[in-house]
Symmetry: C2
Subunit: 352 residues, 2 copies
């Protein structure tokens, strides 16, 4: 497939649907797997790496579902820009985009499933859905894992479980990640307390693009760090019944308090953000995100009605650096991107 | 007259007309005069003060021009809010608004002439016009001065000239003040150089409300400080042919340079200001002025067309604290004013 087909869609993780989508942006489960008989990725020779790529690609192709087939992108042949587009759509990690050597990604056209080949492990499989849908994403990726396990013998140790390149993933190899939108906790400065509690529970808190990105702005990705000594079900259940509902409740309460105690200041912030997006002639992606975050909050609180959530999400995705350059069909400097981004936004808002 | 009649008009000094109105907001000449036989204001008894008020009021009434008659406001009877309205319209000084005792102001309905009674001197007479119109304002106030001099004997010394309460005004008693809009010199940080040069020339640089107000924002009032040892004509000529044209040229050059070198950043600033005015739910008068200054610049540079100068000026005047409260017909706290101001602006911009 051509990546140009992608850039017009919103992608699954930003669809803005699913339970508790007022706070939960997306739910993701990923599994780390390695094929027995091959060294871990850092120790693969170039030839082994290519061989393994082909092997995994073939297996994935064979299990590609008819109703939502996998597309495959050979990342060693893709341009920088195309790889960056995939990162911005959360279909591959930054790490996979930036390393060298034979590697690739298969993903469903709906963008709910993505299977990375030769990332940190031979196979990194994720299912992602907008909203809080742990069971759905787990069921989907578990099914794909089962299908692939019929084709490959995974590196597995009877006592430790699945073996992985990094010891932190040994065991179940599972990582549950929930992307949360917590603007009210941020505005009321209660976020620090929540993040401290998360760290005490040995949860990782990251930014919008996962590992290696800081939790800036109002978006926080909460993930488990331990994968050993507990079953997938135990980890999932804790997220489903305790961790996430609790944070979602905190955020909801903070939103109520904001509306009650600081309604005018809140509206002022929200509408000024809209004003900035409507009128800026140059704007960074960080600033855009800050404003969109407030519009999203305003929409969910019924205090802002100029832009629906879908449009908000589309602007967010399409104004990221690689998507913007794809849309403009040009390589742009940071300054040029700021101008193009402002133009894109005004156009999307029906201005200009 | 009722001050309620005033609050709907723009007033002369903000009319936005006259030569070089792209840079020169208004031109003003004021004369300080005292009536022989009475002590200066600080030493007047209450009874003398009242007597002098009546005397001057009567004389002023007698010379009131038929086509643009004077209104008179007895400031000792006016409310705080009404006095503040007059300050915001530049019809009286802050000092006259805030002191006690018998005092008043006569002003023409066009608001070009205002005659303050018992301010620092017995009589402070000003003529003000929008744009750069030194000859007009001088001719007007000189004529009124002549008419009053036929009715009152001014305190005058053959060697020193007109005698005034403060020695700085002795001599001609003239102060020439030109209000300049210098956003480009401010943006390019060249303003400091200009202000230093002005001070070297013994000019006073003040803010939007004259004496005792700081030159904040983009508006600067340039006035002479010496009134002794030079004729009115010499002082006026220096303003007319040297001081003001030179600063106006500097500002014009700075605007050209801004457009040439930083056009996008300039447009970004201008349009974001418009966005803030259109969308804020609470806004201070200082912030309002900052934005209006940029819109004014944008209009004159042909880079902004959403609001004409008249509307810009009207918003500026009407959103000042006293005008706002008059318009809302209510006493408002600072916080309430911010909300009311934002509402007024959105309404005036055709939004809401």
């Amino acid at each position: 497939m051509s990546l140009n087909d992608l850039t017009g869609l919103t992608g699954e993780w930003l669809r803005g649907e699913g339970p508790r989508n007022d706070v939960v942006i997306s739910t993701r489960v990923r599994l780390a797997r390695n094929v027995r008989g091959y060294p871990f990725v850092p120790r693969l020779s170039a030839a082994q790496r290519a061989e393994l790529s082909d092997l995994l690609r073939g297996g994935i192709h064979a299990i590609s579902p008819g109703q939502d087939p996998f597309a495959y992108v050979d990342l060693s042949e893709a341009t920088d820009l195309d790889r960056q587009v995939l990162v911005e759509r959360h279909l591959i990690s930054r790490q996979l985009a930036e390393t060298d050597g034979s590697r690739g990604v298969a993903f469903s056209r709906s963008e709910t499933v993505s299977l990375m080949i030769n990332e940190e492990d031979h196979l990194r499989m994720q299912s992602i859905r907008s909203g809080f849908r742990l069971d759905e994403v787990w069921d989907e990726i578990d099914r794909i894992d089962d299908l692939l396990e019929q084709r490959f013998e995974y590196a597995f140790h009877p006592r430790f479980g699945y073996l992985t390149a990094c010891p932190t993933n040994v065991g179940t190899g599972i990582r549950v990640s929930v992307m949360l939108h917590l603007p009210a906790l941020k505005l009321t400065s209660e976020i620090e307390r929540v993040l401290r509690a998360a760290k005490d529970m040995r949860l990782a808190v990251r930014g919008l693009f996962g590992e290696g990105t800081e939790a800036t702005g109002d978006f926080f990705q909460i993930s488990n760090q331990c994968t050993l000594g507990r079953s997938e079900r135990e980890i999932l259940d804790e997220f489903k019944t305790e961790i996430i509902p609790r944070i979602v409740d905190y955020e909801s309460e903070a939103r109520c308090a904001l509306v009650r105690d600081r309604g005018v200041a809140l509206d002022d912030k929200i509408w000024r953000s809209y004003g900035a997006l409507c009128n800026a002639r140059a704007i960074s992606s960080e600033e855009t995100l800050t404003h969109l975050s407030l519009l999203r909050l305003g929409s969910h609180l019924g205090r802002f009605d100029k832009l629906d959530l879908r449009a908000t999400n589309e602007i967010f995705l399409m104004t990221q650096p690689a998507h913007l350059q794809k849309a403009m069909n040009a390589r742009l400097s940071g300054e040029q991107r700021s101008v193009a981004r402002a133009e894109f936004i005004r156009k999307r808002l029906g201005l200009n």
